[in-house]
């Protein structure tokens, strides 16, 4: 957790620096509030580095607990990449066509074997969401190429 804390503190400091540089071009009134908290964020990041150095074992028990529960990080990477691809093409294909395929691929990737269950969930969730949002609650969902057909 020590190295993680260092990386986290440096990342947050860089983000603070980014906000600070952008705020330099603002009016004094608009810049004061974010600039004050940029300074606070940098100070807190320094405090985290010092604290992690002084108390390296502080988060040891929590870290070991979370390590035991690590599971498969690769599943999350697949899911995030899959979600990004899904969102890119969602506008064109729409929710109805794309979601069952996305769910089937996702369940397969994360290791579910029962094809019946996967198909049931993929189509069941898609149809339920459309019925509830589009028809019961009158909240539109992305329709894509089916926009003319699907009211």
């Amino acid at each position: 957790m020590l190295r993680v804390n260092y990386i986290f503190a440096i990342t947050m400091s860089l983000l603070a620096l980014f906000f600070y540089v952008l705020s330099l071009s603002y009016t004094e009134d608009a810049a004061q509030w974010p600039q004050f908290f940029v300074v606070i964020l940098v100070l807190l990041c320094i405090a985290l580095i010092v604290d992690s150095h002084k108390n390296p074992n502080r988060e040891k028990s929590e870290a070991s607990e979370s390590n035991q529960d690590m599971g498969k990080t690769s599943y999350v990477v697949y899911t995030i990449v899959g979600s990004i691809l899904y969102l890119i093409i969602l506008e064109f294909f729409g929710f109805l066509l794309l979601t069952p395929i996305f769910l089937i691929v996702l369940f397969k990737l994360i290791g579910y074997k029962s094809n019946k269950l996967i198909l049931f969930i993929a189509f069941g969730v898609t149809i339920s969401v459309i019925l509830i949002f589009q028809y019961m609650l009158n909240i539109p969902i992305p329709q894509g190429i089916l926009e003319e057909i699907f009211i």
Binding site: W33, L87, K113, I141
Partner: protein, 497 residues
């Protein structure tokens, strides 16, 4: 009194009763599955409330909140794993009773204690909130600034074992909240000329991302190949507690409900400490403290009454002052805002019908899950056979649709996904995400009221010389430094031993 009559008529309408029933069942389901939380359950359902009447929408969200806290006790009793953090203390005696073949009785006691705890706190909420709101009507910009700072000061106690991480998350949230128009002059900040960012990040996609999508990623991560069902104990023994048993634990339930309500009022503490404190008090007041930890009914009743009483208590600062005391109430603010209801004293003036309907619906919700808990306990083990992991992809899809539904805007889905990834990474490295939400909600109020105060009074002395503002700022200082003092004392104790 007029408001109460209107509320009773409103709540007893068919549509509201169905809403409460759905919220209660959904809440129990979400709370009972380990890995899913009250916070996620409320966040995921917010988009469904868009097209509802304001009262129905907020009643649905609050009934899910109350019922999911009770739901947490089901897996605590049957699986030895609390469904929500607030159910952790219930494990101690609840699972012991399951091992003795008395899981039915444990679930029955849990339902009764949870229901009564919730009802008592809802009654306290109904009587104290309007009085507090009336006092809060006198607040001006300096008081609102102090109040927002008090709310933000809670972030130091949300950092878990490392308070600095909570503060970093809170400050990150404050910076995120500055994206968009400056609240006084309308000067665009950090928008990169994008019209999507002109009004800042929408609260709901951020909430859904931080609490639902990130949870979906965690559930997906825990998926095990080939393992599609979960082992759970069947519910055994009689469920309905006898009148003698209930009478015996009534003082315990009453005491725990009062403890839970008052802990709920204090921002930043939450249901799990309330449950443990009540458990300890029940043990201390018991004639047979040696039975605690070995399957004592009072050991189930105390934490369950307390953690459900926290729900009513937590709504007091939320509704009267607009200060969210915990994660779920921060999300409830999102639910109120999408209906144009800004929590705070004016809510009672402008939307009294909604507030009193909410009070009355809380009583109904708590009684309803008491009935469901006692009558359906035999089926609870079936719920637990649904692996929570299978919910991951479904929650992700609901998060996507929910984020889009707010403004029919694809940009909101990207915001949700980005905050989902941030929430997932933060959780992985022990950084709490609740401070981000508290800061996003409260920082704009703090900035606006600070600048208004400075326009009125020229310097900061104008704020601290106002008595109410001074008291809130003092409370903020105490709240802010308490975790650091506790941390310092703990470290010193570790070093000395």
């Amino acid at each position: 009194m007029q408001m109460w009559f209107e509320a009773i008529v409103n709540v007893f309408s068919f549509s509201i009763l169905i809403t409460i029933l759905f919220g209660t069942i959904f809440g129990i389901l979400m709370g009972s599955l380990p890995g899913l939380s009250s916070t996620m359950a409320v966040a995921i359902i917010i988009p469904f409330t868009f097209s509802m009447e304001p009262a129905a929408g907020i009643i649905l969200l609050s009934s899910i909140y109350c019922a999911s806290v009770f739901g947490g006790s089901i897996s605590a009793i049957l699986l030895n794993t609390p469904g929500t953090p607030a159910g952790a203390a219930t494990v101690i005696d609840g699972y012991e009773l399951t091992k003795q073949g008395k899981s039915g009785k444990a679930l029955g006691i849990s339902a009764v204690a949870s229901g009564l705890g919730g009802v008592i706190s809802a009654i306290i909420l109904s009587f104290t909130a309007p009085i507090l709101a009336e006092q809060a009507l006198r607040f001006g910009a300096p008081e609102y600034f102090a109040l927002a700072i008090f709310g933000i000061s809670v972030v130091s106690s949300l950092g878990g074992i490392n308070p600095i991480k909570g503060l970093i998350a809170g400050t990150f949230g404050i910076l995120i909240a500055t994206v968009g128009m400056d609240p006084i002059d309308g000067y665009p900040r950090f928008t990169f000329g994008s019209p999507f960012l002109a009004t800042g990040f929408s609260l709901i996609p951020v909430l859904i991302g931080l609490f639902s999508a990130s949870q979906a990623f965690h559930l997906i991560k825990k998926s095990e190949k080939g393992k599609e069902t979960k082992d759970s104990e069947d519910v055994k023994g009689q469920v309905l507690p006898s009148i003698k048993e209930v009478t015996k634990i009534l003082p315990n339930i009453f005491r725990s409900s009062i403890i839970g309500t008052f802990i709920g009022i204090i921002p930043g503490i939450g249901g799990d400490p309330a449950a443990f404190i009540s458990y300890n008090e029940a043990k201390r007041w018991s004639k047979h403290p040696e039975r605690f930890g070995k399957g004592e009914l009072g050991g189930v009743a105390a934490p369950e009454a307390a953690n459900n009483a926290v729900t009513g208590g937590a709504l007091i600062p939320l509704l009267t002052l607009g200060i969210p005391g915990n994660t779920v109430t921060a999300i409830l603010i999102g639910g109120l805002l999408i209906h144009g209801l800004r929590p705070g004293p004016m809510l009672f003036q402008e939307h009294g019908d909604v507030v009193y309907s909410l009070f009355f619906s809380l009583i109904i919700t708590n009684l309803l899950f008491l009935i469901i808990g006692v009558s359906c306990a035999k089926y609870f083990s079936t719920i637990l056979k649904v692996p929570a992991q299978i919910m991951g992809p479904i929650i992700l899809i609901l998060s996507i649709v929910g984020s889009f539904a707010i403004h029919n805007d694809y940009f909101d889905i990207w915001v949700m996904l980005a905050f989902g990834i941030i929430g997932y990474i933060f959780k992985l490295i022990n950084v709490p995400v609740t401070p981000i939400v508290l800061a996003i909600i409260l920082a704009p109020i703090a900035e606006q009221s600070l600048r208004q105060s400075l326009l009125q009074g020229d310097n900061f002395a104008y704020i601290i010389t106002r008595p109410i503002a001074f008291v809130f700022l003092l409370l903020a200082v105490i709240t802010f430094f308490t975790p650091f003092v506790r941390d310092y004392l703990r470290n010193r104790k570790i070093k000395s031993s």
